[in-house]
Symmetry: C2
């Protein structure tokens, strides 16, 4: 493991290095969803007291969750949102209207229960776990999971964000966090993040891995104006130029222009997919992590539920290019896992439809004529 | 009151007639939302630990709910979905793939807790009240609110669905149902309906009151094929031709080509607006009731939250013509109040954001530079 990994982590265990071969082995262990169970789930849904398909995407959510878990009697049980915090050297280029110290301040806010994700997770009956995978400052707070790989990335406009070993270590943090949550009984995971400046590496990753022109995936972040957005486009174009040689493969691209929380989210998704646990992807930044995961192993897609279409320009490009559809369209652009929390409520609703609605026979209702 | 009104109703009280003058008085009693409270609510939202506006429509939901209730410390408390059942004489034209007796069978299913709306209401922590405002059959079931105005409408393809007095009586059933729920502590109401064939009168009302061509607002209902849809278009065109003289005013149009449950929903919305209680409008059929309410009193719009864009063709025309935006896009087309139940969860999430999130000061988080 890279020497920059913080050895003080308290609540998860890491043994030995995590190599690119280990990553390949994890990807090879991921299997497609269970198509037979999906058909059986849809057959059950079709026999419930409603016109066929009339609960639209709720039915899809239920059938997909059954196909993922391989069970028809599927309950989400414990719901856990994993919120990874990290900083970004590229903030020195003036790409955010918030100062970098807000990342650490928000970690305290998460642990105090006052942030958006806390409120929406409580509403959904989900637990929030906060993992420091790369905040620039030292944070000591009860409940914080300390897995700092390095104190923020380097400035991507001047070179790679981190080494490949560091990216692997951050992926490993995500894997461990997912594994721990599943061991604790989580039946569904949500991704979340906090990192001032992190729409910039996310846009860089979309541009590199979709691939699409930088301008299409670069938005206003937490509140830039159009002139500042143009500057951000130039910074990202410079980052892609400086790191050009590293952009051909997903892992090296993630290390070159990504972020520590983005790499951790990539790890969560791969581990959830391997473990056949549904994972709800939050917004723009989480989607960058999901894109890296899907480029490493396209089957990871089967396990991801994309919670919402962010107001951040470029998210729609991601969905269009990947032929994916988000669940919610609420103009959210907060991150943290807020969209994942809302979408978990819909997924639970879909499963309850499957598990609790009466069939035509049970209710004595006449089926349709066709 | 029309002599066809069932006097056996058990759980609500109706005294005297409800005339068109009474309806006008109710409409005059509706005031606009409180713009000053809405501004104060947005100011509080802007001071929470998130970039301004970054919770998008959740913030709008919270601010609008404050503006409706006139309170900044706003909680939804008890949530009640009012599901009105009624039958439609136009089913004899072959406009639905389900037989009309399903309306009564589904009333039993609602009261047994096995229908879609029951499952989703339980998920949202909402109560479902089932009101027979015009089922064709006699239904006796514990918990049913019996307010039958007449046993189904007449066939709109051959004449008016009901008399103006009957339409007023059905509106009154909605008013009473809303008033009773509010008296019982409901802080938010949802609309719902059950009525085999009721996309047909709904499409007729959209065509008459928006107004738009019939073909644009006539869809597949619970599962017609394209040929059957074309037949449905012709039936509705005939209904509009036969009832031409009655389509100029909203009340007479509602009586001529509407339905008893649609009129009741119109009444719920007007009473909720008068009482400054937010009302969540379900899908295609509920929107027809909402359209009638908004044509009777345009200010009713301030009190309505449109839960979702139905998969039923024509719902998007309604939203476009009225310049309204639905909350969810889940391809639902079940009705009953299922979309209202899901949207109530989002509205509660928005209010919790308002009430539970920490401010920048409280959390010691640095605000943005602009």
């Amino acid at each position: 493991m890279a020497p920059t990994v913080d050895q003080q982590q308290e609540t998860t265990t890491t043994t030995g290095n995590f190599s690119s071969d280990d990553l390949k082995a994890l990807c090879r262990a991921i299997e497609p969803e269970d198509a037979a169970i999906r058909q059986q789930a849809q057959a059950r849904l079709d026999n419930l007291t409603k016109p066929r398909g009339s609960l639209g995407k709720l039915e899809m959510l239920a059938a997909r969750t059954c196909a993922i878990t391989g069970r028809l009697d599927c309950h989400l049980s414990r719901k856990v949102i994993l919120t990874f915090a990290a900083d970004h050297g590229v903030t020195e280029e003036g790409v955010s209207i918030f100062p970098p110290e807000v990342t650490c301040q928000m970690i305290h806010n998460f642990l105090g229960g006052g942030a958006g994700v806390n409120v929406l997770a409580r509403h959904a009956g989900a637990e929030v776990r906060v993992i420091d995978v790369g905040a620039a400052g030292d944070v000591e707070a009860p409940g914080l999971i300390k897995r700092k790989v390095r104190p923020g990335t380097a400035n991507i406009a001047k070179g790679p964000a981190m080494s490949e070993d560091e990216a692997l270590a951050a992926i490993r943090v995500g894997i461990d966090s997912a594994r721990d949550a599943i061991a604790d009984g989580a039946g569904i995971l949500g991704t979340g993040e906090m990192g001032i400046g992190n729409t910039t590496p996310s846009a860089a990753l979309f541009a590199a891995l979709l691939p699409v022109p930088v301008g299409q995936v670069t938005g206003l972040g937490t509140g830039l104006d159009e002139r500042a957005r143009q500057h951000k486009v130039r910074v990202i174009e410079q980052a892609l130029a400086v790191n050009q040689a590293r952009l051909a493969r997903p892992l090296t691209a993630l290390a070159a222009v990504g972020g520590l929380e983005i790499a951790a989210i990539c790890g969560v998704i791969l581990e959830a997919a391997k473990s056949r646990v549904p994972v709800v992807v939050d917004g723009f930044i989480s989607s960058a992590g999901a894109l890296a995961a899907m480029r490493l192993q396209p089957l990871a897609r089967d396990y991801c539920f994309f919670s919402h279409m962010s107001a951040e320009q470029g998210h729609k490009i991601f969905f269009a290019e990947m032929e994916l559809e988000p669940l919610l369209h609420l103009d959210l652009r907060l991150g943290e896992g807020t969209g994942a929390a809302l979408a978990m409520g819909l997924m639970e609703a879909g499963l309850k439809i499957m598990n609790e609605m009466a069939t035509f026979d049970e209710a004595g209702v006449s089926p349709s004529e066709n």
